[in-house]
Symmetry: C2
Subunit: 340 residues, 2 copies
């Protein structure tokens, strides 16, 4: 089959890979309908994360079940399914507590490589959520978004304790930040401040429910959020970048007693103890347990109540994946969908 492989920073290729087969009796193999490039794929692409030999890429996927192992009970060939970036058994104590991305048996899909024609999904019963029937083509981008960026933005909003009557600020205008806006809206936020300097992203944030746009960053961005919140800061802040500056901007934009939900992968971040101590914020985040939210998100999408697929502003066939990486790296595209 064809699949995307990263050889070195900047050197991403579409090449022939072995067809996946059932390895464990709890596996499924799915024929992908669509996959995509993630902001976190850019870390190794940019050389920020080390590339240790040729690596299959991708961890976001929707598709049709082709084959299942002998112990798979709930997932059947022919079903259209959505999964997330960690396979999880969905039965261990951590999964039952809603932390499937810390499942004691978790398997990172990124190590298997979802930017391909076929994908082996471990722990299929715990990982995959089937749609009600085969969805129409126009819903595929939104279902694909549920696989990671929507689920991640949603987790950030839940981690930030977004709820009715609250003021929410969103740091980061990538796909996750924009879908954090959408999640905040769905979760009933009274006011949503999107922090963005890019016009097209501002437009989508407003469409997803943002009520205010703040273009400033750092100290000035914090000051603007305080201006909008009686000097106190937002109740809930979603952090969807993962840099030192963005984390501190998120913490400092939050009122004492408020909540920061952070989902940007925090490379090279060190949080100063005294600033955190006196900020009085709640801090929660990490790799989103997307599986917790998938059934609800799939329903919202299939009922056409949300349209997260709009974050894909570039669609290319799998074979042109390198162009998709390039466009995202240069911030010409928010997110690239790859048709298979």
């Amino acid at each position: 089959m064809r699949g995307v492989v990263l050889h070195a920073p900047g050197d991403v290729r579409v090449e022939e890979r072995d067809d996946p087969v059932i390895v464990a009796p709890t596996d499924a193999v799915i024929r992908l309908s669509a996959t995509c490039v993630c902001g976190s794929d850019l870390w190794p692409y940019r050389g920020v994360e080390e590339v240790d030999g040729p690596s299959p890429m991708g961890h976001e996927y929707v598709g049709v079940v082709a084959e299942v192992g002998g112990e798979v009970r709930d997932v059947r060939p022919g079903q259209f399914v959505v999964g997330s970036f960690f396979a999880s058994d969905n039965t261990c104590e951590l999964c039952r507590a809603g932390y499937q991305s810390s499942c004691v048996h978790r398997v990172p899909i990124g190590g298997i490589g979802a930017q391909a024609e076929y994908l082996r999904v471990p722990l299929a019963d715990g990982t995959l959520v089937a749609t009600p029937g085969t969805p129409p083509d126009d819903l595929v981008p939104s279902l694909l978004a549920a696989s990671d960026v929507l689920g991640t933005g949603w987790f950030a909003a839940v981690a930030a304790e977004v709820g009715p009557g609250k003021t929410v600020a969103v740091v980061g205008d990538g796909a996750v930040g924009l879908l954090g806006v959408l999640a905040a809206r769905q979760l009933g936020a009274a006011r949503i401040i999107a922090m963005s300097r890019h016009e097209s992203r501002q437009a989508l944030a407003l469409e997803y429910g943002a009520t205010d746009i703040v273009t400033e960053r750092g100290d000035e961005g914090v000051a603007r959020v305080k201006d909008l919140t009686d000097g106190l800061g937002a109740h809930s802040v979603i952090e969807a970048v993962g840099t030192q500056e963005s984390m501190m901007q998120a913490i400092r934009s939050t009122r004492p007693g408020g909540h920061v939900g952070y989902v940007g992968v925090t490379h090279d971040v060190a949080l100063p103890g005294m600033d955190l101590f006196f900020s009085h914020v709640h801090l929660h985040g990490g790799p989103a347990p997307v599986r917790r939210f998938l059934p609800e998100l799939v329903d919202l999408i299939c009922d056409r109540r949300i349209d997260p697929g709009k974050v894909f502003d570039l669609t290319l066939p799998l074979d042109r994946a390198p162009e998709g990486y390039e466009a995202m790296d240069e911030r010409r595209a928010i997110k690239t969908l790859l048709t298979v």
Copy 2:
């Protein structure tokens, strides 16, 4: 009046200070019954925090109201009262949300100096809680503990989301850690792991409700907590030290999705982003909003349902305060009560 003044690291004296008077119409002046030395007083005493000229010391206090300003409505001369280390109006939006120690009008009592015969308390109506009648002498140490260390341990337990059925680990065996054990017990924890290497402190932890003692620290301490929790870590961890090692021990002893409540003042701490991200913990803490809990704590004490005063294992008259500092600095005493 007599009062404690720190002149330089290690140089603490009891000397004549001006009698406090009503400055603002919302002030009260109280005649102290008892005060004490806090672990955080040791930071400047040890020179870890800079000493900028002679500084009146102390922020923990109980006593009898001597005089009130013209706008004080709820507090009356003759009442026995307990306050905390930040004066707060208890009416602003942050106070109403339960974060009185971040009150928009907060005043640090440490800057006024409660280790003295009399104390001016700003924002008296918002800050002071009266006991039902004048308490018997034997309850004074427990009421004094409510002023800071009990309220702080209680906040840590609440911040760590301690509750029925949960396993709690407590990092730190000072007064706050020990009272974190007491709070965890009161809040219904199923299992309480106290981390301590000191026999007398272990004994008090057990008396306060600890079910397990772990003497190891760092990696070994984390491993022991994991051993006791099916390899997952505790649901709730109370951090009551404030060093890099203790913060990381707390975070790493917590299961994914679990909660760390940290109240040790985090001098020289920098939390590594990636460790925090993948720990999947909730982190909350800071200066305890003791005022939130004071009415409940005063009731529990006056009903003799808790006995937090046992953390005072050294009692001295105010004039011998320097000996009290020395004993705590050398860890010969958990906490020194000063009678006035």
